[in-house]
């Protein structure tokens, strides 16, 4: 397995002088190149802390994180780490720097010292990739939340990172904006092969991922394909997380004595499996 990010025995503690809070408590993970990984967890599960550790905003208390072979604690190479792992944050307003959409997308490449001509090309491509080309010359504060978040994503992909980490990018959006952003992320992963790590607490955004990691209390408690992870209904509920309604239905049926496989994620699959059971 070719991993882009490898995390080993990671521990992170917040120290405010009086109390020490352990946010990440011994995580080891390998993130495969080109994969779409969703990280699901409740507030305080340590998922946002994990995101900040991945591009060196925070550095591990102990353990190591290697990003494309570079240790994130290596201060001399921090820019290489950030070039490799782009970050999109929760609040779209607070990550847009410039007064015009295309200038904001250009901000990252400008920091990297890229030739103006090449920046122009990258900006156009990035805006195209998130479907915001027609808004290139708009003022960001006039866009909707979903559009702003897509601009933020464009700003990251214009730097040509290998991996994008999105820290609850849909938390402040309305349902339409949310769907927009998730579709954009999925398309980036499929079309351009960018590794995506999507951190969220919306269960249904994780269904399209290749791999689902569930975090609770700073630990990884589930790790596998979403289809498989969601069948562990009791475990998920123990950590205060819901499972897709289809899985919940099949689970109740199973409890009632009808033995069905639990791994149906779409309504059609679920109907199919109930139908085949009934026609036995």
């Amino acid at each position: 397995m070719d991993s882009l990010i490898s995390i080993k025995d990671l521990i992170f503690e917040y120290d405010n002088g009086e109390t020490v809070t352990r946010a990440i408590d011994g995580i080891s993970l390998e993130i495969e190149r080109g994969s779409f990984v969703a990280v699901l967890g409740h507030n305080g599960s340590g998922k946002s802390t994990l995101a900040r550790l991945l591009n060196g905003i925070l550095t591990p208390t102990s353990g190591t994180i290697l990003v494309d072979g570079i240790d994130t604690s290596d201060e001399d190479r921090i820019m290489d780490v950030r070039r490799c792992v782009g970050m999109v944050f929760q609040n779209p307003d607070n990550q847009i720097v410039a007064n015009v959409v295309e200038d904001d997308v250009a901000f990252g490449p400008e920091n990297l010292g890229i030739e103006p001509k090449e920046i122009r090309q990258r900006v156009d491509e990035a805006l195209e990739a998130v479907g915001m080309t027609e808004y290139a010359e708009h003022a960001p504060h006039l866009l909707s939340g979903g559009q702003k978040q897509r601009v933020a994503i464009a700003g990251v992909i214009a730097m040509r990172p290998r991996c994008i980490v999105l820290d609850e990018p849909t938390a402040m959006l309305d349902p339409v904006g949310r769907e927009d952003v998730v579709n954009t992320i999925t398309a980036l992963n499929k079309r351009y092969g960018i590794t995506v790590i999507l951190i969220t607490h919306h269960m249904n955004e994780t269904i399209g991922a290749d791999r689902l990691i569930v975090m609770a209390g700073g630990k990884v408690v589930e790790d596998g394909a979403p289809r498989e992870v969601f069948t562990h209904v009791e475990n998920m509920r123990r950590f205060g997380l819901t499972v897709p309604e289809t899985t919940a239905l099949l689970y109740e049926l199973k409890n009632a004595g009808i033995d069905l496989p639990l791994d149906a994620l779409s309504v059609e699959e679920c109907a199919e499996s109930i139908y085949s059971e009934l026609s036995k």
Binding site: V97, D103, N111, H141
Partner: protein, 267 residues
């Protein structure tokens, strides 16, 4: 309500004045101000008026709009005029009680008022025809020689442009907090000055806290995008001096030279 506040005073347009490079416009404004202070007699003032009028006509900005900028300073202008009128020594043409009005006084007062009004109009023309972003870029580029003296030119320009970026966001937020406080019975509209200022407190505190939180998040986001100060940074849109900029600068230099000659030889 707050959303209607226009930002800066930029009036978008597509005239030659609008299209000039911001550096050209900044330099020309400076030349214009210097020339204005060099003007001493009727002829040189006439020249300055013609130049200003020509610029206003070309920029297609309405005179009424430009004069609006003069209004808040009316009192200062009137006081300056009166002081010059009463305190200039010379041939008295009118005198009663302790007040003496002289010919020189009238002349000086008129010139002084003209100078201030034209100064304001000229600088307003700059901000009316140049977007704040272009103005910031222009300033950064013009001041860049100061970098050698360790003057933080890039940082200042970055601060200015971030401030411009966040003004609408903060206005929107102020609006939101105001509505929230009104819903809880806050009263921003009545009472005397002191009461109203006090009513603003529950508005300003949340606004400040949120501004600091935003600043913190923005800093993390900028760092994540490899921002490391101005060193080694490139720009996608570099400013570009077109032939029209050089022509405009040449005309500006001509004006300045003419004014100096007229000032020295008192033509």
């Amino acid at each position: 309500m707050l959303r209607d506040v226009t930002l800066g005073q930029y009036f978008p347009g597509d005239t030659i004045v609008h299209r000039l490079d911001p550096r050209t416009k900044l330099t020309l404004t400076l030349i214009y101000i210097v020339a204005l202070f060099l003007a001493v007699d009727y002829f040189s003032y006439a020249v300055m008026i013609v130049v200003l009028a020509a610029c206003i006509i070309i920029s297609k900005i309405k005179l009424r709009v430009i004069l609006r900028g003069v209004k808040p300073l009316l009192i200062v202008i009137i006081i300056t005029g009166l002081l010059n009128l009463f305190y200039t020594k010379g041939e008295p043409i009118l005198s009663f009680w302790i007040i003496k009005i002289t010919v020189e006084g009238i002349k000086r007062a008129v010139f002084m008022i003209l100078r201030i009004v034209m100064l304001i109009m000229g600088s307003f023309l700059l901000t009316y025809t140049t977007s704040p972003v272009a103005l910031t870029d222009g300033l950064e580029s013009l001041l860049s020689p100061l970098k050698k003296l360790r003057f933080p030119v890039h940082e200042l320009a970055m601060m200015m442009s971030i401030a411009l970026r966040f003004i609408p966001t903060l206005i929107e937020e102020t609006d939101k907090i105001m509505s929230a406080q009104k819903a809880r019975g806050a009263n921003f509209e009545t009472g005397n000055l002191f009461q109203r200022a006090k009513a603003l407190l529950p508005l300003l505190i949340p606004l400040f806290i949120s501004a600091f939180r935003r600043a913190d998040e923005l800093a993390v986001a900028m760092e994540s995008r490899c921002y490391n100060g101005g060193e080694g940074r490139t720009k996608m849109k570099s400013l570009h001096m077109a032939p029209r900029d050089w022509i405009a600068l040449f005309l500006g230099a001509l004006l300045l030279a003419g004014m100096i000659v007229m000032n020295v030889y008192k033509i």
